[in-house]
Point group: C2
């Protein structure tokens, strides 16, 4: 572990007590950080800074840690001349050595003169002192768009430490971005495996350290953060192994021996599953069974009808409801078809998930709980065909996607779960305007779109707000090959649909210059339309029952999204329906 000085200073434990507690827990303290603004053009201030450092080396000795992180200076008096900087680092190295310690010099992305890891490494090299090395930090490198290939040029023994952090791509200055939005590798959009792999190829063999500053992580339970940190590190090594395999194939810049050496440093875990589709969706139903009634009305054929559960089937898609005492109906479980369920479960267990034995699809299977509590069951990719149990739903092709509402502090944990455990990839995320705030929305899909899950975080609502809270709204979207026929079928069946209002359709005409009769066909059937390029998306929604509604979508000519353009209209109509009900 690293000790961030501020945590020690804020704490009640003496350095010796922290050292002993770490030893009791089997933890080694690898780094003490940060030491700021070391170098100075003012010799008197530099001398004072060395004096300050002596205090900290004494403190480190009491903690039992011998490596200090020295950040590039952000002070206006920072040294600009490379030779002077190297000389000051060398002086610091001498002081460190007197105390049996070493320093790792790091370029902050916002350092006054040193903001590039290549410059920092050069200064550490020129310091030419055994107690002076460099520290690499993936955020400081990638946030500024600096090519990580230069890491391969750094002598491995000069890389004293490696800090890893991911981050979402945000349009803001690096300093607030770094201080508030870092996240664990795999939760953001930076190529962290590339940086880590290059460090290992250069010869670094020390710890992979997570250095993450994140407002939401501060607010979240520590156990959840620890779970995700551990999961992230294992998943990172998995990604590095895949990257190594690609390098092996391309033969760029590394011998087989080198690649073998690096691979031997990585913890092996089973590869991520490649989901082939959803086998089933389980729903918690409210008393009186309103969701069961909705599924019946849609026309799914009942395949099981027991006191504790009702199940329907349509070709190879199963839906099940379970009556519970909850206030709000919700999606409680998903069955994911994967080529090797046992291997997927073994990987999940290694990634810190508790395995749960379940009976599903008439066979014993293994499941895990996602961070939001949704139970995910690993099902075989190929399932025995189920005999048609009735007429079924005309034109229904299967499940298109499932939308799950996430607790606000579990968003990053959920994307990591669905990536590392579920084998999905993140699409670019959206903020969707709800009448009461912004919904943060993240679609995640398998490579061939066989499985798609949309994770939504509802906006926080002021308690004084009059409108009812709909924090639990989730939905299942089914794909159809004819949305108009589906709408007619649902209307015949008496399924209540959600209408967004006529203004939407007038705008549709202005926007896309559709023929009047097309617009009227959609308007009268509550069908919403989106177009991106040549692709078209047609969608309709049932009214919300408990906390769940059903969606039906028709994808035309390769439309790949999820109707983000229409989501605000849907949310506004749902809010109106809530106020009425």
């Amino acid at each position: 572990m690293e000790i961030f000085e501020h945590d020690l200073l804020s704490g009640a434990w003496s350095p010796e007590e922290v050292r002993d507690r770490c030893a009791d827990l089997g933890l080694r303290i690898n780094l003490f950080q940060p030491f700021r603004d070391l170098d100075s053009r003012d010799p008197e201030r530099f001398a004072a800074n060395l004096e300050r450092a002596r205090h900290k080396f004494d403190l480190m000795r009491r903690l039992g840690v011998d490596l200090m992180l020295v950040c590039s200076s952000v002070a206006p008096d920072a040294v600009a001349a490379p030779q002077q900087l190297a000389a000051q680092l060398r002086s610091m190295g001498e002081v460190a050595q007197e105390h049996g310690a070493r320093i790792a010099y790091e370029a902050l992305a916002w350092g006054t003169h040193v903001d590039d890891y290549r410059v920092a490494a050069r200064a550490a090299l020129d310091a030419d002192h055994p107690a002076v090395g460099t520290c690499l930090d993936s955020f400081h490198i990638l946030s500024r768009g600096i090519d990580p290939a230069g890491i391969l040029e750094i002598p491995g023994e000069l890389i004293f430490f490696l800090q890893l952090a991911d981050a979402p791509r945000l349009a803001m200055d690096v300093l607030p971005w770094s201080r508030h939005y870092r996240c664990f590798p795999g939760q953001g959009g930076l190529d962290v495996p590339g940086v880590a792999l290059n460090a290992l190829l250069a010869g670094y063999e020390g710890p992979l350290s997570l250095e993450v500053f994140n407002d939401i992580f501060r607010q979240a339970p520590a156990r959840q953060t620890a779970r995700d940190a551990h999961r992230s590190l294992l998943h990172l090594q998995d990604r590095m192994r895949r990257r190594l395999a690609a390098r092996r194939a391309s033969g760029v810049r590394a011998s087989a021996h080198e690649l073998d050496r690096v691979e031997s440093l990585l913890l092996p875990i089973p590869p991520a599953p490649t989901p082939r589709g959803l086998a089933f969706v389980e729903l918690d139903d409210e008393s009186g069974g309103p969701l069961a009634a909705l599924v019946d009305a849609v026309g799914f054929a009942r395949a099981k009808d027991a006191e504790d559960a009702t199940a329907w089937v349509h070709e190879d898609v199963w839906i099940a409801t379970r009556p519970v005492d909850a206030d709000v109906a919700r999606v409680s479980g998903l069955g994911v078809r994967v080529p090797d369920p046992a291997r997927a479960a073994a990987r999940a267990a290694q990634l810190g998930c508790e395995l749960i034995s379940v009976e599903a699809l008439g066979q014993p299977l293994q499941a895990v709980d996602a961070p939001d509590g949704t139970r995910v069951t690993f099902c075989p990719a190929e399932l025995p065909a189920h005999p048609p149990a009735g007429v079924g739903v005309p034109g229904l092709l299967g499940i298109d996607h499932v939308a799950l509402t996430q607790p606000w502090h579990e968003f990053d944990g959920a994307t990591l779960f669905w990536t590392a455990v579920g084998g999905l990839d993140s699409l670019p995320s959206n903020d969707v305007a709800d009448p009461y705030g912004l919904v943060r929305s993240q679609a995640m899909t398998s490579c061939g779109r066989e499985v798609a899950v949309v994770l939504n975080v509802q906006p926080r609502r002021a308690q004084e707000h009059g409108a009812p809270v709909r924090d639990g709204t989730q939905h299942i979207a089914f794909q159809t090959d004819d949305i108009v026929a589906m709408a007619d079928h649902l209307q015949r069946q008496g399924v209540p649909l959600l209408h967004v209002g006529d203004n939407y359709y007038e705008d549709l005409q202005a926007l896309y210059a559709f023929a009047d009769e097309d617009v009227e066909r959609w308007r009268s059937r509550a069908v919403l339309v989106d177009e991106v390029g040549a692709g078209r998306y047609l969608q309709l929604f049932t009214q919300t029952v408990g906390g769940v509604f059903l969606e039906f979508v028709q994808r035309v000519d390769g439309y790949a999204g999820f109707g983000a353009r229409n989501a605000p209209f849907r949310l506004a109509a749902q809010a109106r329906a809530d106020v009425r009900s």
Copy 2:
């Protein structure tokens, strides 16, 4: 009012119903917005865009609004050549005129080619069509640091509309800054009065329209947002009048006649009060009176002891507690000395505050409630001296500041209240690290520091978090001329103090190179130290009682802050005390 098209499209009411409802409410619709991406280098697309515009002019006729906002294009095919842009705006003007409408062309700060109000105004002028004018938006001008002086060069009759928004100074791209962080004039850091005043001096006489996109406003109750919008507009006009007076004095660029004309457009309100100090602090106490016991222990002399309230006095500072049934003790009221209490109350009433008649300091006074519920009483600046009621607290100079915890959605409303109603100014805001998240902290002071209020918003806490919630922690800070003597006095009195731990003091020595005996003098008395330049701040805290603690501070050599450096240490120690209790 403006109609933002998306709101209309999301709504269930037809344009005619919206028009009629506005008429019923006595509202006029001044603007329909936005029309995006009008101009195009592709003649076919431009023709399609005009067709799209025809739909919208029809819609506007049904709404009863004749002015459309046209934003500069953000599309890659946007017109770059000024003459072509003017020609296309002229064509649009012709279409508008056919529909009895006009367009106001506005430069978005992130427009492809037009991102400067001067360029947009030039294009509108060159269009040379009576239905084509420009729209000014303070955010788009000030966020890019463009000099608003150029507004004075625009012919007044060309300025069809004026949109006003403030924003905090943030280090991010203008687009997300604009979409998520705009706020009402007076709540941010932009010179909105300067833009508005220049528009009026140029000859604009239309509405002052607030165009604010803000994530928290979306989540907040509409009534609160309306209250702040109204307050902001009145306060803005007050600031514009003060600016006019300054111009009149300097005589720059405007004749007295012009200044008179502009002044006549502004609604007059009484000037903001200039607070001279706090007269009293009222506290809600828990059952058993723990806060009263704390005030007694500090040594304040009891001046009143009734069943419904206890009061203490020290020179001209009064403290009162009132037993309530609340779980958590809190600061419930402040008495603010102002030169003309009746005028301050009249201004508050005009700014939308409800006036409350109270009996305080032995006389009838008027009070208002701040957004967080704290009752603010306007007291005379000069109060009769109170005979010494006992020994009192040695070395106590008066109240330094009071810290109030704000509901998360009232932060901007609270800064506006304390500025517009309370006559305070905002200092730069801080984020302070608490063990469970970041505390957003905003200090506000009167011009001569006679009154200082610190507004804090606690971080949201995950419900699963084990630690207790301390959302209500507030404090009163008293100034002393000798912190060491005060600490000794408090220790003699048995007042329990908050200790941050020895690590803090070791760092203090490393940081400032203080003499050992100084550090030991502070450490043994739980005194914290901050230095900025030549100034020094010494502070100590009592343990928290209910939701309130007391602070004592000594300011040396002009230290002007509030010990932000030490706040995280205090918060960590308080969190530890919470866990223990």
